[in-house]
Each structure stands twice: as structure tokens, then as C-alpha cells.
């Protein structure tokens, strides 16, 4: 019989990564992500993997990219200040189409901010933090089992789309413990690394599946605009590269979308949430439903590419959309754009380091919807 375990969010992230076959970790410790690194330091060597404590976060992301090209399933974890330093490397991973996973356990910022307080202030940075148009997939999680599953999903999506995948956690979820059924081997899909077929004609290293170095194909890996063999180009081939690497993610929003919808069918109001805020949001929506108010809940687990289709397909009964976030208004802008004026969109932000409460969320919905059913 399956037994439950009391597991911390960071623990679930580390064991989710190992479940997905992660065999390389490089990082620099920072609250509230440090437990991920501690567990990887303990677990990877005994499983034949490599653990590296780097001198800073720039070295960490660089080592992760190098390890991926060396054939490893590689990840790093950090928090806001370290995530800022990693942006250059994330851009390099994007243009070199390197599968890798970057976990950012968000804390109150900017700068050193409040290391032990939660926030969702890194959402736009996760999407747009590195310069230039670029592909990236951004995921998030709201409970401990979710952290495990979304970490596995991060490795799968990195492999499938050859992109850096950012998993956004936060201080509360990282440090929170709850009882979960830990997935058994084989329970969750793990997409393996593709391998070249023996004796087959060498294929170009860019534009197809990820083939690490060392399989007899000679090519270049560079941050310069490049052709399918990695050699520098300019003009139309550079444009083709950029359009291809961005479109491979933007055109797959539906396939990449992970979300949960509750009570949407007859909803007049919808609470749109992600990450740890999904917890008070769920409590709020359940309470409002029990009072007979027609309120739905949409919990996003993929933040980028943004699942526009979910908002285009909202029922026509929806007249009000509330987006509670632990920031001053970030994802709400995407929601507003995707809703496209079909309903009124409002933001509810909390930035004192503490979690929004069910009462704050329910209260705002009631203010706007009234008690009419």
C-alpha cells in the first residue's frame, strides 16, 4: 500500500528532479532555496551524479549549460538576487537551445529585500529577464505534490522544446511541509533524452532534437546568431533562427499549458491565480460557492507561454476577473490583454511579505459582485 510522507516544498523539488533523471546540479546557496541544494549535495554523489557548489550564480548557470551539452540532465536553484545574476546565462541557454531547469524560489525584493518573506515579484523577470526576444517556459506550483510534478514537467518540457525552463516557487511553498503520496517510479511520465541512431547520417545539431556533444558530430555552440551547425550568420538566416526558436514555444501554448479549472461553467466572477496564492484563492472560492455566489477558480501552472486560449474561451457569463498576486501587478497585465475587454479585470496585490488571506480575496469578489446570485 502506498504510504504518505510529510514533505517540504524544496524537498519535493529536489526529489522531483532526481525522479526526472537529473544528474547534475550546480548552484550557490540562498534562502529560501538552499534545501534544494543541500539535498542535491547529499543525493547526487551517491547516485553517480555530479554536484558542484559554484562561486556564484553566473558560474552556476554556466556550469549547468555546459553539463547539458556534456550529456547531463542539469538544473540549478536560487532566489531573486541569484536569479538576476543568472539572466545572462538563461539567454545563452535560449539561443543555444540547451535543455535545462532553473528553479527560482521567490522572496521579497528587489535586491536583498526580505530573505525569509514570500513574494511573486519575479514573474515578469522569469519571462523577460534576459535581453532580446527569446524562448523560455515558466512554470509554477501551489502545493507540495504539485512542486514534485511540476519539477518533473520542467525537465520534460526542457527536453521536448530545447529551452531553459524556469520553475517559480516562493518562500512559503519552499519551506512548507504537507503530507503527500510521493510518485512511484513509472507513475509520472519522464521524457528521455533523444540519442542519435548508430550509423545514421549525422543530422544538424540545431533545428531538431537535442544531441549533446560527443556523438561523433562536429559542430559549434555559440551565443552568436548561428546556422544549423552553429556557425555565425547575419541577415535573413539570423532572422530565421530567432523566429524559429521563439515560435517553437509561442506556437505551442496549448500543449505547454498546465492549469486547473473549477466551477467555471456558470461563473459570473473568476479568480485567476498561480503559485501559493492558489491556496487562499481556493478557500475563498469554496466559501463563496457555499454562499451561493457563482464564482469560479482558474489556477495557472504554466505562466509562459501565456495560455491566452483559456481566457478567450471563458464562458460568456463571466463579467469580473480578479487576479490576486503577491506583487504590485504583474501577471494581471497578461490576463487583461488575453481577456480583451470581455470582462472587467482587477488586481489584488499584497507585498508585505505575507500571504493573501481567503477573506481578502473573497471580500474583494463580494465588493465587486455584490451578494446577487
Amino acid at each position: 500500500m502506498k504510504t504518505q510522507q510529510l514533505m517540504q516544498g524544496n524537498e519535493a523539488c529536489a526529489f522531483g528532479a532526481l525522479y526526472a533523471g537529473c544528474n547534475f546540479y550546480a548552484g550557490y546557496p540562498i534562502t529560501p532555496s538552499s534545501e534544494i541544494m543541500e539535498i542535491m549535495a547529499r543525493e547526487l554523489p551517491r547516485r553517480g551524479g555530479v554536484f558542484l557548489q559554484a562561486e556564484d550564480e553566473i558560474a552556476s548557470i554556466s556550469a549547468v549549460i555546459g553539463a547539458a551539452w556534456g550529456g547531463a540532465r542539469a538544473m540549478t536553484a536560487t532566489s531573486g538576487p541569484g536569479f538576476s545574476l543568472m539572466q545572462e546565462g538563461i539567454g545563452y541557454a535560449a539561443i543555444t537551445e540547451t535543455p535545462c531547469v532553473v528553479v527560482d524560489s521567490q522572496r521579497w525584493g528587489p535586491s536583498t529585500g526580505q530573505p525569509t518573506k514570500a513574494a511573486q515579484g519575479d514573474v515578469m523577470q522569469a519571462i523577460w529577464g534576459t535581453h532580446g526576444d527569446h524562448p523560455v517556459i515558466v512554470l509554477t506550483a501551489g502545493h507540495v505534490r504539485d512542486v514534485f510534478e511540476m519539477t518533473v514537467a520542467a525537465f520534460n518540457l526542457a527536453e521536448l522544446y530545447r529551452v531553459p525552463v524556469v520553475l517559480l516557487l516562493d518562500e512559503i511553498l519552499s519551506h512548507m511541509r504537507e503530507n503527500i503520496f510521493v510518485p512511484e517510479p513509472g507513475e509520472l511520465e519522464v521524457i528521455p533524452r533523444s540519442r542519435p541512431v548508430n550509423g545514421a547520417k549525422p543530422v544538424a545539431p540545431f533545428g531538431g532534437p537535442f544531441i549533446p556533444l560527443g556523438y561523433g558530430v562536429r559542430f559549434s555552440v555559440t551565443g552568436l546568431a548561428h546556422d544549423d551547425w552553429g556557425f555565425p550568420v547575419e541577415g535573413p538566416p539570423a532572422e530565421r533562427l530567432l523566429r524559429r526558436i521563439v515560435e517553437k514555444v509561442w506556437s505551442k501554448a496549448r500543449e505547454i499549458a498546465r492549469y486547473e479549472a473549477l466551477y467555471l461553467d456558470d461563473a459570473r466572477a473568476v479568480v485567476v491565480c498561480y503559485g501559493i496564492v492558489s491556496r487562499p484563492a481556493e478557500s475563498a472560492v469554496e466559501a463563496l460557492r457555499s454562499e451561493g455566489l457563482k464564482v469560479g477558480l482558474l489556477t495557472l501552472k504554466t505562466l509562459w507561454p501565456f495560455p491566452d486560449f483559456l481566457f478567450r474561451e471563458l464562458p460568456t457569463t463571466v463579467e469580473y476577473v480578479l487576479v490576486p498576486e503577491l506583487n504590485l501587478g504583474q501577471l494581471v497585465r497578461e490576463v487583461e490583454r488575453a481577456v480583451g475587454g470581455r470582462a472587467r479585470v482587477e488586481h489584488l496585490g499584497r507585498v508585505d511579505g505575507y500571504l493573501l488571506t481567503p477573506e481578502q480575496i473573497a471580500g474583494r469578489v463580494v465588493e465587486n459582485l455584490g451578494r446577487r446570485v
Binding site: H175, M176, E178, N179, R279, S283
Partner: protein, 187 residues
């Protein structure tokens, strides 16, 4: 004993960094899990690892737990003066409160729901201040029945290295003994 834990029940354990209140929360959560309940444990502390006020919260429920933090505690433990000053006021009429004897000189005990016990002093008597969280948990659970005694004891011993097993068993027994000092006082 007439204190009947609500379902879900919200527990807030507070003290000073280094007193082990976060570990106490984890132990209580593990015991609740052994009892077959759903549980969420969260924590809050300052940027300093030691000596700031720290707080560990546990919600125990037979149903799914959505909101993971304590709104108003049903059970409150304060092991330090800082923690008392910060967290004592936040309670409802039926909140069961256990205080260390030294957290305040004010006569806050009501013989009904608010009690003081010499928890820190008992830990020192048992052998080391490091077991203050185990003394406190054993006493608190004896008074409130949050989890079964067997699960709590097992959860404590699972966390403890073999060489400290006896010390922690003694701390657990001393905590339960302490609880008998107020056992009769509860109407």
C-alpha cells in the same frame, strides 16, 4: 479533560530561534500524519537564524487543507517573552494557551484555557535546554489531545539521534508529568 480539538484544528507554536519550535511543528505534523490526518506545517522567522522570535504553525484536518496558514490559533504555545508579546493577543475565546512560566509576570492564567508551566526549567532539570521543545510538545499534547500519544512519541524518537534517545524519552515523560499539574484545573 474537556478541551476538544476542532477539525480542522489550528496550532501555533512560538518561541525564540534556537528553542526548536520549527522542529516541534514538524514533529507534531509527522505525528498527525501517523494518525492518518491531513496536515500542513508552515513557519515564519526573521532573517537571523537564532534569537529572533520564531513561529511554526500546524493545521491538522480530516479534510483537504487549502489555505495553509493559521488564521486564529485554536492552540497556542509561547516559550519566550518575545513570542508572548508578539503572539499572545492573537487568539479567540476558546484558544487553549500554554505559556512558559517566565514569559510574563502578568496574571494571565484563567484556570480555564490559559496556563503557565515551568517548561524551560523542566528541560534544564531533565538535562539540557535543547529538549525544551519536546517537554513542551508532550505537555501540550497531554492537555489538548491533538494527536495520539503513541504517534507523538514515535515522531519525537524518529527525529532524534540514538545517543540522545534516553534524554528525549526523559523529556517526554517530564512534559507529560508537568501537564498533570494543570490537568485537574481544567473544568
Amino acid at each position: 479533560m474537556t478541551f476538544v480539538a476542532r477539525d480542522p484544528v489550528q496550532v501555533r507554536l512560538t518561541g525564540t530561534g534556537g528553542q526548536g519550535v520549527i522542529t516541534a511543528g514538524i514533529i507534531l505534523a509527522e505525528a498527525a500524519l501517523m494518525d492518518g490526518r491531513n496536515v500542513v506545517q508552515t513557519q515564519s522567522y526573521g532573517p537571523e537564524a537564532r534569537l529572533g522570535a520564531s513561529k511554526s504553525e500546524v493545521i491538522i484536518s480530516s479534510r483537504k487543507i487549502a489555505y495553509p496558514q493559521v488564521t486564529v490559533p485554536d492552540v497556542l504555545l509561547c516559550l519566550s517573552e518575545d513570542a508572548f508579546n508578539k503572539y499572545f493577543r492573537d487568539r479567540h475565546d476558546d484558544t487553549f494557551v500554554l505559556l512558559d512560566s517566565n514569559v510574563t509576570d502578568e496574571p494571565v492564567e484563567d484556570g480555564r484555557r490559559v496556563f503557565k508551566l515551568p517548561i524551560v526549567a523542566t528541560a534544564l532539570q531533565v538535562g539540557h535546554k535543547v529538549v525544551v521543545n519536546v517537554v513542551a510538545l508532550a505537555a501540550l499534547n497531554a492537555l489538548t489531545g491533538l494527536v495520539s500519544q503513541a504517534s507523538l512519541k514515535e515522531a519525537v524518537l524518529r527525529r532524534v539521534p540514538a545517543r540522545f534517545r534516553e534524554l528525549n524519552e526523559a523529556a517526554f515523560a517530564a512534559g507529560e508529568e508537568l501537564a498533570t499539574m494543570v490537568g485537574e484545573a481544567i473544568p
